[in-house]
């Protein structure tokens, strides 16, 4: 335990990443909390691009991230970050930016203080840290409130200041744990744009969410976790195709569902309609896009007022259901 007198950080001084190694490697990793399994025999290797980690609450997304960033030690298996065990060696943190799911921040600090103070832990001088902090705060759109206390930030601003702190040292790998949780639509759009741009910069980005449509707007490369297990890993289009093989439902909110249902029945891709209640029409189809394309015309022709359109199957729960069926 000798303090680092050079103050340049182990990351800068001694450590060098293993050449050509994937940024993240999990090799048969299992993590248990007593009797509860957090992650079960997961093996992945990631380098480059934006990867969406999908899973319901408790699926193991945060556990996966905490293992990758060295906050947790695997019960079995091996975790490597830039070819190094992150629990034993903090050096790879110099190339990692991590936005945790925790909503706790230092509310008494200003955004600029928060980002600049933590930037100094990468070995930057006070002035360098402040300059970099201002740049990233500008990047996430917080430059005008940089000198405002974090306690006075909105939820979206808090998420963005966390992202800023994770980017301040220009890392190669950025991990965002539920960055969109609790944000309003405008903040979501902004954060999603930031994530997309990070991916376009050539960074490796891991972003988790339990909402399929959110991930869809960010990336095509996804990883699905369910009950601690790796359920699927691949391109979102492939997942979409899987979804399209199953019957889909379109829910229309209308005052006259029966009359409207009659208008849809002649369509060749519609194989059934149902009326869950007096104000709803449920259309069943095998070709979602075809029906969606025809839907506006049919509604206009029928002259029946439609107040809402929903796709109940276009969510993670349905996707998980289909994937589980496939396994069974």
């Amino acid at each position: 335990m000798i303090p680092d007198l050079s103050q340049t950080g182990e990351g800068q001084k001694e450590w060098a990443p293993v050449p050509e190694a994937p940024h993240v490697v999990l090799n048969h990793v299992t993590k248990t909390y007593g009797q509860v399994i957090g992650l079960n025999d997961v093996s992945i290797a990631i380098k480059g691009g934006v990867t969406g980690i999908l899973g319901q609450n408790g699926a193991g997304k945060s556990t996966l991230f905490k293992l990758i960033v060295g906050r947790l030690r695997p019960t079995s298996g091996e975790v490597m970050l830039f070819g190094t065990n992150p629990f034993k060696n903090p050096a790879p943190y110099s190339r990692l930016g991590y936005v945790s799911e925790s909503e706790q921040l230092y509310d008494w600090m200003t955004g600029l203080d928060f980002v600049a103070t933590l930037a100094r832990l990468y070995g930057y001088t006070r002035d360098e840290a402040k300059e970099r902090a201002m740049h990233v705060l500008e990047f996430v759109g917080l430059d005008d409130v940089a000198n405002k206390e974090i306690g006075k930030y909105s939820k979206g601003m808090r998420q963005r200041v966390k992202i800023a702190h994770a980017m301040v040292h220009d890392p190669d790998l950025i991990i965002l744990d539920e960055p969109l949780a609790g944000c309003d639509p405008l903040a979501r759009t902004t954060i999603m744009n930031v994530v997309r741009e990070l991916g376009a910069m050539g960074k490796t980005v891991l972003v988790s969410s339990h909402a399929l449509h959110e991930i869809e707007r960010i990336t095509e490369q996804i990883l699905i976790l369910h009950n601690g297990r790796l359920l699927a890993l691949g391109n979102l289009h492939a997942i979409r195709e899987l979804l399209d093989k199953h019957p889909h439902r379109i829910k229309l909110l209308t005052d006259n569902p029966r009359e409207l249902g009659r208008s849809f029945l002649p369509h060749e891709d519609v194989f059934g309609v149902r009326f869950p209640n007096s104000g709803e029409l449920m259309i069943e189809t095998n070709n979602l896009s075809s029906v969606h394309q025809a839907l506006p015309g049919i509604c206009v022709e029928s002259g029946i007022r439609v107040t809402g359109i929903e796709n109940p199957d276009d969510n993670l729960e349905s996707l998980l259901g289909y994937l589980m069926e496939g396994r069974a």
């Binding site: 335990m1 303090p3 680092d4 007198l5 050079s6 103050q7 340049t8 950080g9 182990e10 990351g11 800068q12 905490k66 960033v69 906050r71 947790l72 903090p90 050096a91 790879p92 943190y93 110099s94 990692l96 991590y98 945790s100 925790s102 706790q104 921040l105 230092y106 008494w108 600090m109 103070t117 933590l118 100094r120 832990l121 990468y122 070995g123 930057y124 001088t125 006070r126 840290a129 970099r132 740049h135 500008e138 990047f139 759109g141 430059d143 005008d144 979206g156 980017m167 040292h169 220009d170 190669d172 405008l186 903040a187 902004t190 744009n193 741009e197 376009a200 910069m201 050539g202 960074k203």
Partner: protein, 519 residues
Amino acid sequence: MMPEPDDIGFGQPEPGSAAPPPSSPSASPPPPSPVELGAESLGGLTAPPPQSPTPTTPDAQVPAPKAIPGGKQLQRIQEQAAQAFRPLTDTVWSKLDRKATAVAEFTLRQYRTKSSTWVVLGIGVLFVGMMLMFYAEAMATGYEAYDNDGDSYDWDEDGYPAGQERRLGTDPNDRFDYPDPDIYPPDDPSVWINEDGFDWDGDYSNRNQGFDDDSDCTGEGWTDPGSWALPGNKDYNGDGIDCNARYRTNVTGEIVLGIMNDPNVDEDPDEDVFIKEALHRGFVLGFGKIGFVFLIGIFLPLFLATGLIRDEMDKGTLHYIMGKPIARAEVLAYRLLGYLAVVWPYSTVLILGTALITGFIAPSESLFRFDDMAAWLGVLLASWFVMLAYGTVFCTLGVMSPKYGLWIAIGLGVWEFAMAMISLGAPNFPLSWLSISHWGIEIVNCTSILAYPDQSWMAAVSETVNWGDDTPITGFYSAPSIMPTSAFGSLLISIFMLLMVTVMALFIGQSSLKRKELN
């Protein structure tokens, strides 16, 4: 302002300006697009500033010095000088500006935002203020001289003090037996008060001390040298010398361990002078040991250090610091650095303030009494090391057991209190050596001996005369316990022991923190 999808590429290079190189070697050059411009902007943050003003391209020619006009030459020299001195900015000072001070400064600012910090510090100031008021009152109180040997009283009411009657050979208990008033007029009773003070030549090696100023042991000048009022055994202390005081000192003859007087020798000293001095020194010792070293020394770390890491773990914010390229052991050390940046200046201000105030009030022939400064510096030294040791131990307990750490720390505080009491009463009892408070108290003892050359003598006198509560120096002073022959040696050992506790606690704390999962 939140960026719109199209304007996220902040800091896009102006047309015609050179874009900085991409920072990441692993990032492949992205295709030209609005997003790519943003990438370059961010990458530009890491681009180091040009290290040399000299262009390296063949096209750029450096003009010869002789071709430079005077003004430009001066500018060039200044640039060269700036370049020459540039490496100096990368010295220990600029490096200290980084991780260590970042964590310590953050810790300091965090303390500032907590009301508990101000409450604890405020209570400390109030406590010291109250004690100073008691002290000032005690110093303002005069101590009336009283007759320790009772020879100023006129027991038989014949007008003559008993001492005068004994000297002149009349019976002090017979009102009809008294000296001839024409030859020996009656003395004022005050003559027989404070008539035999402690005589010490300051030589620790000379064990034969004391002098019978009023001759009520030797019988010199008495009408009847064989008077019944004179002691039968004039060498009560058995040193072979009649009517003296035998000093018992330590091996090296640096510390007076005890005084044994022959009968009626040094038995009636001046209370006003002696008690006030002993009271003052008792305050320095007692307040130093109990107030600063123990009470403030343990409560400040208990409230300020226990949660240094534990609170961050509880709140789930520790990962903000831990998730950086900094060893966990360093985080622990630098957080403690921030803690010390609060408690050390605080105790310094309190102790030096107390020294300043007491310096003006304490018995002294000059306006300000400088004699105590060394003793107060000893108290300061003790409080620093004690707060360092307690802080590290409590912080470690918080790391080891976030759930029960505070309760274990409170339990340890009770143990420390018990050991402090033992250390005050029986400093040689080895059990108390297993405490931090003992070594802090020992530092104050040792430095007081070094600060006041006659400290052990004064304590021994108070013990001998048995002034009791009037002279708390007897209760608060102890000779060095670990190394009775040397106050300086004991001081060094005490500091070493406290540093050992600190290092051990730090070692255990960082080992525990290294294995901790931050869930």
